[in-house]
């Protein structure tokens, strides 16, 4: 006849009791959302200058750098009547296939105008494959407050450089 | 302008001895155009070339190439031949050809006519810079006069020889003083230098053998043919025969043209003839060949160097067209190189990369250096850019643009201390 040993069950109970008072590791998503680290690479944004013009010049270097072949860019020429970006050309088509994207950030590195940046947004579930294609309309940031959106009509001769002169933020 | 005499008489600036020699009658009374007649009627072209070679006459445009030898290079299997007179005289500090052509025109004309006969040319083009339009106008009248006197035209002196002279005005580009750019300009195409070789005596104006000589060079020819090679050799040094018109300018008391035998020292030119430095200041440097020359530090040794084709190179410069610009202690070398580069940047033809981009770059740098905004790194960069241009340009003028810059930084380093 063996003597009943309560130790194992107490040990187990201890874990249970401890867990009851411990802070939970899970998040109550979607009510609660995790704050991402600063360097987190989420979905892309196409940025604008302070004046609201688009930074993207449609050079397709992001597409060239993309190891997953997820980006498709097609460029067109700006005119003073219909202007998207300060330079000579802009991306008339900009698409990222989020299903292909591996969030490596090479596109960001390749971008000569800092137009494409990986943000913190990670909520990209879709129920249709077609919706995995993010177009320029989705990717583009809204213009800064008080600034008109693109395309816009501008004074002739103001934007006469092929690539706007870039100055890093002070 | 200051006047002086060489061993009793001038060869090129004869109007200083015979004031009215600019008149046709006065010139002919001196035996003018007798030589031309003698040449056309009695002499063989080969003999003339040999005589000019024997005289030791060297090109006065800057390169100092033996004139007779250049003439001998003319391709006799390809006709016609042309003689082109380079009267572009655009080098800053050079003003000798202007005086010869305007004051002693008949001797100049007779010289080029004899030369044309020697190389078998029936047409002479005098290429003058655009600013010389008055001289061109005078020359046109004088050429008309020669036609009227039957010294130009068909069947001269009863022989089969025909000769015509045309003046051609440039549009004021420095590069058109370069002989191949000059030929392009006459042909009506853009004044940019051609590839050499082939050299003009083989392929020149309109693709034909052409001799391009400086005004001063050819102005000697008639007298050499009249008085002989030995007479000409009695002036100057063994390797630099004859006299040369030195255009003296800069910080001297009496700037002007001085015709002196080659081999005269800088000291003689500056102090004996030029009257010394303005305000009796101290001489600092010498630009021996206008803006395109290296700047020489004017030590005693330098001042005693004879001005001759063979001796100036030892000073790290060239005799060139003998446009001597004197710099004294008041001259800031930073200002000087900025001035010269302004000029070369303005005058670069743009054909070859190092000159087009290099002069543009140097102009930016020297402007900053002259204004005192530049650091030591800029001076170093400027020197490096100048050095990078050397040996890479299509024609000599690209090289020239770096001379003053590189030599000033090397030889007057204290001026560039920040």
């Amino acid at each position: 006849m063996s003597i009943y040993n309560p130790l194992p069950i107490l040990k187990g109970l201890w874990t249970t009791i401890k867990s009851v008072v411990e802070k939970p590791v899970t998040l109550q998503y979607p009510e609660q959302k995790r704050v991402m680290p600063q360097r987190f690479k989420g979905r892309h944004h196409l940025r604008r200058y302070d004046n609201g013009l688009e930074k993207c010049i449609g050079c397709a270097l992001c597409a060239a750098a993309c190891p997953a072949d997820a980006i498709f860019v097609e460029a067109s020429e700006n005119t003073d009547e219909v202007r998207y970006s300060p330079g000579e050309r802009y991306a008339s088509t900009y698409e990222i296939n989020m299903m292909r994207c591996i969030y490596c950030g090479y596109c960001e590195d390749a971008c000569p105008t800092e137009a494409i940046q990986l943000g913190h947004d990670y909520e990209m579930a879709y129920t249709e494959k077609r919706n995995s294609i993010y177009t320029r309309e989705i990717l583009l940031d809204p213009p800064p407050e008080g600034q008109e959106s693109t395309p816009r009509k501008v004074e002739p001769g103001v934007f006469n450089r092929s690539i706007p002169v870039m100055k890093d933020a002070e | 302008m200051a006047e002086q005499k060489v061993t009793g008489h001038h060869i090129l600036l004869r109007h200083r001895d015979i004031p009215e020699i600019g008149e046709f009658e006065v010139y002919t009374a001196q035996g003018g155009f007798e030589t031309f007649k003698k040449v056309v009627t009695t002499m063989e072209p080969e003999a003339i070339k040999q005589l000019v070679l024997d005289s030791g006459l060297r090109g006065r445009g800057g390169a100092g190439f033996p004139t007779g030898r250049k003439w001998m290079f003319v391709d006799d299997n390809n006709w016609p031949h042309y003689l082109v007179v380079n009267a572009d005289e655009s080098e800053p500090g050079t003003f000798k050809d202007r005086e010869i052509m305007s004051k002693n025109p008949w001797q100049f004309l007779e010289g080029i006519m004899c030369s044309a006969f020697a190389i078998g040319a029936n047409d002479i083009y005098i290429y003058l810079r655009g600013e010389f339009w008055q001289i061109a106008h005078e020359l046109d009248r004088q050429i008309e006069k020669l036609h009227a006197e039957s010294l130009l035209g068909e069947k001269l002196f009863g022989t089969d020889y025909a000769l015509n002279i045309y003046t051609h005005l440039g549009a004021g580009a420095y590069i058109c003083g370069e002989e191949t750019a000059l030929l392009n300009s006459i042909e009506g195409i853009m004044g940019q230098p051609r590839l050499r070789p082939p050299f003009p005596p083989a392929v020149g104006l309109y693709g034909k053998p052409t001799v391009v000589n400086n005004v001063e060079t050819l102005a000697n020819v008639a007298l050499i043919l009249e008085k002989g090679a030995a007479w000409y050799r009695s002036f100057g040094t063994a390797e630099s025969a004859g006299t040369k018109v030195f255009s003296l300018s800069g910080r001297v008391k009496k700037p002007g043209n001085y015709e002196l035998p080659l081999g005269t020292t800088y000291r003689q030119l500056i102090y004996e003839y030029g009257g010394g430095i303005m305000g009796d200041g101290k001489i600092k440097g010498i630009m021996s060949a206008g803006a395109s020359s290296a700047v020489i530090v004017a030590t005693d040794e330098v001042l005693d160097t004879p001005m001759a084709y063979e001796s100036v190179p030892s000073l790290g410069a060239d005799l060139g067209s003998a446009s001597v610009i004197i710099l004294d202690e008041t001259v800031d070398m930073r200002w000087l190189i900025n001035k010269t580069i302004d000029f070369f940047k303005h005058e670069s033809c743009g054909k070859c990369t190092p000159c087009r981009e290099g002069t543009f770059w140097m102009q930016k740098l020297t402007t900053r250096i002259a204004s005192g905004d530049a650091g030591e790194a800029d001076v170093e960069l400027l020197h490096n850019v100048a050095k990078n241009m050397q040996g890479k340009c299509l024609c000599a003028l690209g090289e020239f643009s770096t001379m003053a810059v590189a030599s000033s930084i090397e030889r007057f380093s204290e001026d560039f201390k920040v």
Partner: protein, 828 residues
Amino acid sequence: MAEQVKENTVTLTIDGVEVAVPQGTLVVDAAKIAGQDIPVFCYHPKMEPVGMCRMCLVDIGYPVKDRNTGEAVLNEDGTPKIQFGRTLVTGCTQVVSEGMVVVGYSEKVQQARKDVLEFFLTSHPLDCPICDKGGECPLQNLTLAYGPGESRFNYDEKKKNLKHVPLGDLIFLDRERCIHCARCTRFQEEIVDDPVIGFYNRGRSLEITTWSEPGFDSYWSGNTTDICPVGALTTADFRFGARPWEMLEVASICRECPVGCNLTLNTRREAKSGGKMVVKRVMPRQNEQVNELWICDKGRFGYHYASADDRLTTPLIRKEGEFIPASWDEALSLAAEKMQAAGSRLVSVAGGQLSNEDYFHIGQLTEHLGGKAVLYSNMMGGDLTTKVGMGPGSNLADLGAGDAILVVASDLEEEAPLYWLRVKQAAERGATLIVANPRATKTDRYAAHIIRYEYGQEAAAILALSLDRIGDSDLADESFKQAAKAFAEAENAVVFFGSEGTGMAQSDALSKACANLLIATGHTGRPNNGLVGVWDKGNVQGGWDMGLQPSATLFDDLKAAKAAYVVGADLAGDNPAYKQALAQAEFVVVQELHHTATMELADVVLPAQSFMEREGTLTSGERRVQRYYPAVPPAGESKADFAITAEIAAMAGKELESVSAGLVFLGIVGKFKDYADLDYQALAEVSEQWPIIGREDLYYGGTGYANHQGLGVLLGTAAGRGEPVLIDGFDLPDTGVDGLLAVPVTRLYDQGNNLRYAAVMFPRIASSYVSLNPADAAGLGESVVVELNGFQVEVALKLDENVPQGIVVVPRSFGLPISAPTPVVVKN
């Protein structure tokens, strides 16, 4: 022979590699042969060197020779002593010499390259990301290979220049990117003799500008964008179209004229076209025997018709006057039924731009049904070129001193630009060029003999050139005699005959006269001798070779036809008379790419594939068979012409190959002697060409493509096989006309169906006009009414001193109904 080779070659060492090259070779070319890199910007192997860019600076050493003995001086180890120059030398201007040592890898040379690139980059903008040249840019590539890591130039001091300068309607200039290499200006002057662009100003302000009005008025302007070593010159057509690395390359052949220029089609998927694969640009593909590295602007920019929005995508059947989309089965069986029923009253009309395979099948089907197959062309003589054409081994580039070229009845640059270029170059090499034409053309500039005859007398003029007849002709003056002598005495002689002022009757007589002249002077059956048709359409020669012929009675044939089968020909659009005839035909089947005036008259419309969507072969005027490849997927349900014909044939009881063009070609090979022994593999064969160009050598030859897909094969001729060639007797056409005579001429940029879709070219295409001698234009205004063949058309009037009096020059395909010399009335 071996001795001779040795005498004419020079052995030199380039960076340690010993290479033997022909005497007179330039150092940069020798380096290319040796596989060594000497970078260049301004040098181009097709042009004279200028030594401007200074990029090719190298160190060159020569073996030292003893002054007294002339013997080479040796080093202690027995190697020849080499003396190097004080300064570096431009390799592009230096000719090789025996024992020369070229050093490119030394520190001195590498430093020089770095310096020169640094100079370039002080002014060049950093806009590679948006530059059309980015990715295939010599400056970019050479900077990566040889340039400094960073510039010491102060960025803020960069010179700003105009970046958007339309030089003309087709070419844009970016003055900031220009590196002043003068390749474009030299190309226009040296190669195509259209010096319409040039330098202006000097120094850093030097800039390219255009002298012509309209700007950059040249048929060759697109080539300057290929040889531009930076992105300074870009085409309006491709501007920002795609990045070079994103595009695929497919080999093709141009069919705008009979030259058969080799093309590379660059394709990419395009969002603007709904994700379709489209051709983004047309580039030249090297074929030194055809187009070298060049193509004309029509070939480069005129391709848009093949991908136009109004392409036919499904078969259509006319029901109660309306076109109703139908299935292939339905449409084909209807067509087959009607065509079969027509029997001998079937008329098949094949356009001039179809492939050999298409012609072959049309011929087979029509023969099977007992109908008449007609090649839609206004030129005759395609049978003569098979007899006395240029045979295998010919290359216009071989013609030079001692040879003669006769160009008759042709404004060659307008009719076939590359032929003009090749003839011009032959004349520059010393070939005697004889130009016989009623009015002055650009070809005259290179002519040793110019013969002017009256319109309609072209055949008589050529007959008069035969030495044995020269005495009989009242045309023959001294210029004829000299030209005749030069032609007869030439070692090799080629005749190009075109269609200036000729209709079918004149063309028939002219071609026979030309063949006669060649036979009489013994210029047949040998390479570089023979007859070349400057055909009015791209593959007319192929049509003739496949047994089709033009018909002088086409109008009546169509009127009486029970069924007309029109393939790739816009009869109604070209000539209102044909429109009337077709309207009278009982049943019309039209096989087309898009909506045309002819299609409007059809009962059944069958959508065909464009040349970009299928493969096939073309035969050029020189009778070079060349192969082209599919580049983009077919539009809608369209099928290749030969496949459609084969399917009709199948329904009409004749089995023809309907899938593989290659198999159809084997049928051709089996049937036609000239094509024997050929197959698609043979057509795809390539051999090494000079200059070496290609993707790694962008800086050298430009961005044109190397040829990996076939140089084509020149067909044999009857004369070449030793068969007897006799020319039938022929009548000289009657030329007598009271009053004005309208004559058709060809303009390169016409208003035809091909250019109708090339929007970029619209500004370059003239509006409808006729030309008159000023003496005939008294009382006429700027706009006139022309009465021609019973039709009245209002057009602009151009006065031209070159037009003979009594003649009205009417350009073809400009909306005026003309196919032969015709009496005409011109009034206000």
